[in-house]
């Protein structure tokens, strides 16, 4: 597969603190690539370096074979960017803004159809100052697509949107997938990354600490076995932790929670152990980790922290 973005040993410091710390990464053409991470993980800095908005301290970045710093204007013509926060002149009409931005590029999409797909066709004569937060957000994403870009960068595209607005953006992203665009998005919503992304990178403290398909990330993570037992005598976590398949055990009241790698092997071992102890399950609940569990385990924090 052709590389759309190639990053080698990228480092960017603010003062002494590295915001991006020796990151290497390939993003392939046609891929929907998600960057997940807690606030301050370095997601926006990394994305802004790819867009040419920021320079790096060291390392190499190439987007569509171009150096984002040296060939910025040329690159700007073929990429689409949604910034995390965008303001517009308040006293311009929606249609004026859209047509104006369309005019900046060597070619652009059909403006009317684009407005329709973002449900903004009835708002074209409204002033920017009269738009709701969700409408404004949709407009910023619309503008990122206006030049029919090859690579699209979306920095938290569904932030501050209601569920309906969020689904609308998801539809747009799915459409970009059909059109074989390369799409790079950062998000706070794990559900979103799981649903939309071909691959996900988890960033923390300027480093990529995990990179895989959402499915593999989840599969490679620990599963959980929660259960209660008929007799609690002679039964505690200290012994359970000695089992070869058990990674960790926590007891809360009468419920035991085990973290395991291999569910099948762990269940076999656990059943055998209970039989030896002449004990039985009072109930048993097995669950796979979600991407959120993976995230919390890897970063040691929730995504909203």
């Amino acid at each position: 597969m052709a590389e759309a973005v190639s990053i080698k040993n990228l480092t960017k410091r603010y003062g002494e603190i590295p915001a991006v710390n020796d990151v290497s990464l390939s993003i392939f053409a046609g891929e929907i690539f998600g960057i997940l991470g807690p606030n301050g993980a370095g997601k926006t800095t990394m994305i802004e370096i790819m867009e040419g908005l920021r320079g790096q301290d060291s390392g190499e970045v190439s987007v569509l074979g171009m150096d984002p710093r040296k060939e910025r204007k040329k690159l700007n013509d073929v990429i689409g960017v949604q910034l995390q926060s965008t303001s517009f002149f308040r006293k311009l009409k929606v249609i004026e803004v859209v047509k104006q931005f369309a005019a900046y590029y060597s070619h652009h999409m059909d403006v009317d159809r684009l407005l329709e797909s973002f449900s903004l066709e009835k708002k074209i004569n409204n002033m920017i100052e009269d738009l709701s937060g969700g409408q404004r957000q949709r407009l910023t994403i619309l503008l990122s697509l206006i030049n029919d870009p090859k690579v699209i960068f979306l920095d938290e595209p569904t932030r501050d949107l209601d569920p309906r607005g969020r689904r609308q953006i998801w539809k747009v992203i799915e459409k970009a997938r059909e059109d074989n665009k390369t799409l790079i998005l950062t998000t706070h919503y794990i559900e979103e990354a799981e649903k939309l992304c071909d691959r996900v990178a988890i960033m923390d403290s300027g480093r990529i600490i995990a990179l895989d398909t959402p499915g593999n990330l989840v599969a490679s993570s620990n599963a959980q076995i929660r259960f209660g037992v008929a007799s609690k005598e002679n039964f505690d976590c200290v012994d359970l932790k000695k089992l070869s398949t058990v990674i960790d055990c926590v007891r809360k009241d009468v419920e035991y929670t085990l973290w395991v790698d291999n569910i099948e092997a762990a269940l076999v071992e656990l059943v055998k152990y209970l039989q030896e102890k002449n004990n039985t399950f009072s109930y048993l609940h097995v669950s796979r980790a979600t991407l959120e569990d993976v995230f919390i385990k890897m970063t040691g924090k929730g995504i909203d922290e």
Binding site: K73, K74, D77, I79, L83, T86, S87, F89, K91, L92
Partner: protein
């Protein structure tokens, strides 16, 4: 070319939709004219011509220092210009559109002002409209460049306000636009020679009051052109989208 036009149109729409800037552009100069003429004029057409020259200069100073310097610094602070950085739009096209729109508004408001002066005070532009047009254009271009230099230098909108006012005061007071230079001490007039505003007022006054043409004001124009080149180079170099 099309882009230059559409960028100018957008900037023009923004200017015309801003009531506050319309007041400063159209009503403020008229009020100044009436006020100054009734204060100093006493029905003497020559004095009224001097006032008109001064008011035209003051309009140019405020429209550029405030209308460009402060406005551009504040829209940059609001993050509006940041969005332009990720488009292929060259900076100079944006700068051109902004300057052009201010020029058009200033042109119209100055025309209204001159018309009012002719109707109410029977002032004649003795040196002819063409000469006035030339000074007006060179002057507006020079001070627009100064406005952009202010916007580029100032790190925040607040500091742009401060800078614009600090520049405006001596320009208004020392150029001759409000206080006749012959009543000021020699050393003050020498200081004033270091300010571009003095040359603009001198040229405008020469055309409106004394009937001079381009031939007699070319030294003033030359100084303004040099100033324009320096300020424009500086602002293009320093201008930033965010």
């Amino acid at each position: 070319m099309k882009l230059l036009l559409s960028e100018t149109l957008i900037a023009l729409k923004l200017s015309l939709r801003d009531r506050q800037s319309l007041f400063w552009a159209f009503l403020f100069p008229l009020l100044l004219l009436v006020l100054f003429v009734s204060a100093f004029g006493g029905g003497n057409p020559r004095a009224a011509s001097g006032v008109l020259s001064g008011v035209i200069c003051i309009s140019i100073f405020t429209a550029t220092l405030f209308g460009i310097g402060i406005v551009i610094a504040s829209v940059r602070e609001e993050g509006i210009l940041r969005r332009y950085r990720i488009t292929p739009l060259p900076k100079w096209v944006f700068v051109f559109g902004t300057v052009m729109s201010r020029y058009i508004v200033l042109f119209l408001s100055t025309a209204v002002l001159i018309l009012a002066a002719e109707v109410f005070y029977h002032i004649e532009i003795v040196g002819g409209f063409f000469s006035l047009f030339v000074v007006f254009t060179v002057g507006t271009a020079s001070f627009s460049a100064l406005g952009f230099a202010v916007a580029s230098f100032a790190p925040t909108a607040q500091s742009a306000v401060w800078m614009a006012n600090v520049l405006l005061m001596p320009m208004i007071l020392l150029s001759g636009a409000t206080i006749p230079s012959y009543i000021l001490p020699v050393w003050v007039n020498n200081v004033a020679l270091g300010l571009p505003s003095t040359y603009l007022y001198d040229a405008v006054e020469e055309v409106i009051v004394f009937g001079g043409g381009v031939a007699s004001i070319w030294p003033d124009l030359a100084v303004l052109m040099v100033f324009l080149t320096v300020a424009a180079a500086l602002s293009v170099k320093l201008f930033r989208w965010e």
